[in-house]
Symmetry: D2
Subunit: 357 residues, 4 copies
């Protein structure tokens, strides 16, 4: 069909559910359809530099034929968050050649894919990118691997916290991941029944949050509230504790909690919770498995057709390929403060900050 | 903002997760944003004929302020599968007037929405449709309420059945919903690790299934298999039991099981399971809650802007409005046998029938 | 600590969640604490007869150090439901010797353990039993491996079916596993909010079910109902379709459904669902993992102390050892019609049949 | 059957899953079997002092007949953690009389039940206690409401964290609830595959943890680890940061993380996570629903038989009644460092501290 190839695959940046599902799809399609060999590269680009690999074979594990990669969270290749730097471009290329790779598939977020895109104009380098991130901030694609599971995980946590907050008339401030983009907070906040959603893209004030909580009490008799805040949400201009709190030592969730204690004359029980790394883990959702499988398949086909420097993406219900550079130029993709989800949140009576006039 | 309105809402056809989330969004937006009144209509169009209603108020239940509608499956309005017929158009219109409705929002599948679309050209009738169906067969929209949860439910069941099938070297035939469209079987089969997926849109033969199962054993040492079959999959031409089985008394899953017993000289343990109504139930997934909330909000806005005969839809990552008649003309939307998911299934080594040459 | 041993382990009878967790605990304790070797025996006693084994080593799988056995349902050793017969006692003993086993741990229900208990008085045979069954019918132990997960699985299914039954005013008859004992139906029915629970141990009449459903409608305005029936529940004396239905072709759930259609003059929508093999599968619950781990550890210790013919059991919050023969003499352990759970069901307004006067 | 009664019910202390299931069972049995009236008391004993009540009726909510109390976490009565003090005994008794209660059922942990037990010797006071706590530290009962769900919640979180820890070769320190008793950490740590479990009842040293992690790497090639630590675990004697960390500002999990950074010459990526309030929330597990239903029923029967000052309990597979004072005298019930679960943890290779010689 095509010539025999030896294809490397690596996962880069923070892990998320669905990475192993991509790896499974790539190995399956490359092996079954094209008869190629797939080589797992350990720890993102560090594995290229150090030439360390993980064997990947189809149905290779003795689990009575059950393939654990379909449903296992994380990545069996390992990943790194840092160290993926441009300084190592030469070593990366040397590793690629030493490992006798004909092509490379990289699964990463916009940060880690950026480094790999730099090698595009080197000779003899064939690279296809697959977007993954629980932040959902890769541009030009409606879906990325890992986001849907992360949203469901946060919704599950909000559900649990709602029961306990309601039982104790408590305002619960829930800090979720999202340093620059608030997609996770926005999606999960709407689906999880939040009362307030605070994201980096939309300014807000403590005064407005206080007024909103007061209205919940006065108008609806609601004595508890759930406030979802993205870790990268900005410190509001009317914060009184700004000086006392230098992130990340205190965290935006804790800061908001401290501020809200001054809301009213009533004593309100306010707690802050940081969801942390549970947001990255878990069995991938059905949608993440579908996206992962379709992206893995598409990446192998792009290699077969000789493409390089492209990223698979999801647009208009289809899997497409886009120039990686075009994607990176528009990433990170932030929440448009006027998009339909922000408006949906407002229609449900959720405070999501103040639109600039 | 706009004039005061009294808006009816009904759910029609088979229930699914997310209907109550739509109702909650409609009540919230209509009440909070526009100050309208929302009237729940019982049992689809039957409630219009019989003028029976369900009170719907915001935060109206004494559950310490927790809104059960966000996460509760099914529909508190009740629904009916049959009886929604054109014969009752006059009574429906009479009920609409008697209940003093200014507008109506109907949440239904393509069958039930078809009836309501007939009233479009009657005077004084304002109607907006919201698509829901676990079959995913409403045309021109990438998302419908209920489908994502149903896919996750089937994947969960496949996961359970895989463990037990593998333990006993068993071929498990799993019949899932889908009378005319195989979307649910296709999505869940891929995400759930099926070996064979049989859908109404693609012909298949018993001989080919046998050969595929034999290859799993011979090539990969796999001694179990999972076959997902949509209830509407056609009886294959090479069926030996065709005469003995008149659906629905036996069911396609049971028929396939009976046929596969003749596959080989080896004795294979083959069982058929019908997932049944558990596919309709359950707490809605995060995505279904988002789609439901966004659709509910959009429907209310369409009414505010005077539109009628339109259906809210999801296209290219946005909520849009389409003429309901155009949607119905193209529904039910079937699986394109050449689409990327069918190809993804094949790339994973799944048998999904034979493409016509 | 003790002399070096080579210990076999097998799983027998229908699979359930937690078997792999037991295997993991046995391998861990035997290897780490005693330095023994553990040999997996394939397909219950058939593996002894045929001398087929599965290698079992600690942390042996290349899944980045994640041990899949902790959470994986089913059994990696394989199992069989039939074929475990006394006719093969000599072959079983021959295999035990040929595989050079010093001791054997068998995880099974009362049926499969019965066969192995027959070898007790043969020379050179050291055997410890671990009880597992989703039927919970092993005597003298408060807990068995697999039951807690199965109860949760049925409760989850009842939750889903309740939403859809309520939406359509439907009486849903749900057939669950349990040929001789109704523990699963009773536990899951109470926890899952059933209205009627029918088990083999307690007689009931169609007339009484009809009266109970009528009272739900008349007194509480409830228009749907959930009836949980164990597959082994007896056909009631006042059945009209007795002759027409020879189990298992129709199934007790379908029979009840047919009978209830004659309940009243009103047309009631009645459906039957068979939960089937999903009840065996799934990720083991926390409690099943704890029971499995504690039982596996205790079985290894019993072997170290030279015991044989004993079964580990859970009594009064402790793990104990009992003579296997004493357990089998009292098994299957049925639901006592006067026990606290039956009374609890009645206190919740659930119809659970009629106590004999 | 008995005379008409007006029975109060309150929930006290930290909320947990299953409280609403108890309330439902009490209302159901008291209403259906005895024809009594049940009065919900708001916010534990504060509701008695302030005479604030919540109406409780059977099937009273308009959710198409689905009773939300069966599966809803938290407590619709509200609860308080503090304020339940002996100083208010007179006001509590005055409220009991003013509300014309004939009896009171209190669902609480050992702290909150202690206050109510003080009223036992006052005249005209009939009180039955039901134990609930996610700490599992109520003496003389094998089961309490809420513990099983909390264990499952922590296991789920550990599962998520394991995937991400394994992907990044990370040591993850997970702080779980448990100020004086380590039951939750011990149960969840075993079921969730922890490598180290630190509880208040068993001393441990940083040096030993380091040695254990080193052995995981050297002997098994394991490059990640999961350390579960109860919030009340003692600061180890060999802590270097003792002075720098005054709890709760840093938390024991963070302290352990800081200490472990000095473990070896290798750089290890170590993170601390605090699970926090998600441990209290969630839909109750099947077992918690059964325990809750059985306890609620038994409490009503005790009132009917004129008992007072007793607590319902679970012993040896049965529901029994014990003198509340006897229970409180032995509470909090700590982990016995020699119990079968601690030994099971060790048999699995888990470090659980050092037994005193």
């Amino acid at each position: 069909m095509t010539t025999q190839k030896r294809v490397g695959i690596l996962t880069s940046g923070g892990d998320c559910p669905g990475l192993n599902t991509v790896i499974r799809a790539v190995v399956s399609h490359a092996t079954l359809t094209y008869g190629w060999e797939v080589v797992g590269i350990s720890y993102a680009t560090k594995g290229l530099q150090e030439k360390t690999t993980v064997p990947l074979t189809l149905h290779g594990l003795d689990l009575r034929g059950i393939d654990p990669l379909l449903s296992m969270g994380g990545t069996i290749l390992g990943s790194i968050n840092k160290g993926d730097t441009l300084a190592h471009v030469d070593e990366i290329m040397a590793g690629y050649q030493a490992l006798k790779l004909d092509a490379l598939i990289g699964i990463g977020g916009d940060g880690s894919l950026g480094i790999l895109s730099q090698l595009q104009h080197q000779g003899n380098w064939q690279f296809i990118a697959i977007p993954k991130t629980i932040d959902n901030d890769v541009a030009l694609t409606e879906r990325v691997v890992g986001f849907d599971t992360a949203v469901n995980t946060v919704v599950d946590a909000l559900n649990r916290l709602t029961f306990t907050a309601a039982s104790h008339d408590r305002v619960m401030i829930v800090e979720v991941m999202g340093r620059t983009a608030g997609h996770l907070a926005l999606h999960a906040g709407i689906a999880g029944g939040a009362d307030v959603i605070l994201i980096p893209e939309i300014p807000y004030t403590i005064k407005d949050i206080c007024a909103h909580l007061q209205e919940l009490r006065d108008r609806w008799g609601r004595r508890f509230a759930i406030v979802v805040v993205a870790e990268g949400a900005h410190i509001p201009d009317d914060s009184l504790n700004y000086a006392a709190c230098s992130k990340p030592s205190c965290g935006i969730g804790q800061l908001i909690a401290d501020e809200l204690r001054n809301c009213s004359h009533e004593t309100i029980d306010i707690r802050a919770a940081v969801l942390g790394h549970i947001q990255r883990g878990g069995i991938p959702s059905a949608l993440d498995r579908l996206v992962a499988s379709a992206f893995g398949k598409a990446a192998v086909d792009l290699i077969a057709s000789g493409k390089s420097g492209e990223m698979v993406a999801w647009q208009n219900g289809e899997v497409v390929a886009l120039p990686l550079e075009a994607v990176l130029a528009k990433s990170p993709s932030l929440v448009d403060p006027h998009n339909y989800l922000v408006e949906t949140a407002r229609s449900l009576g959720i405070y999501v900050g103040n639109l600039q006039k």
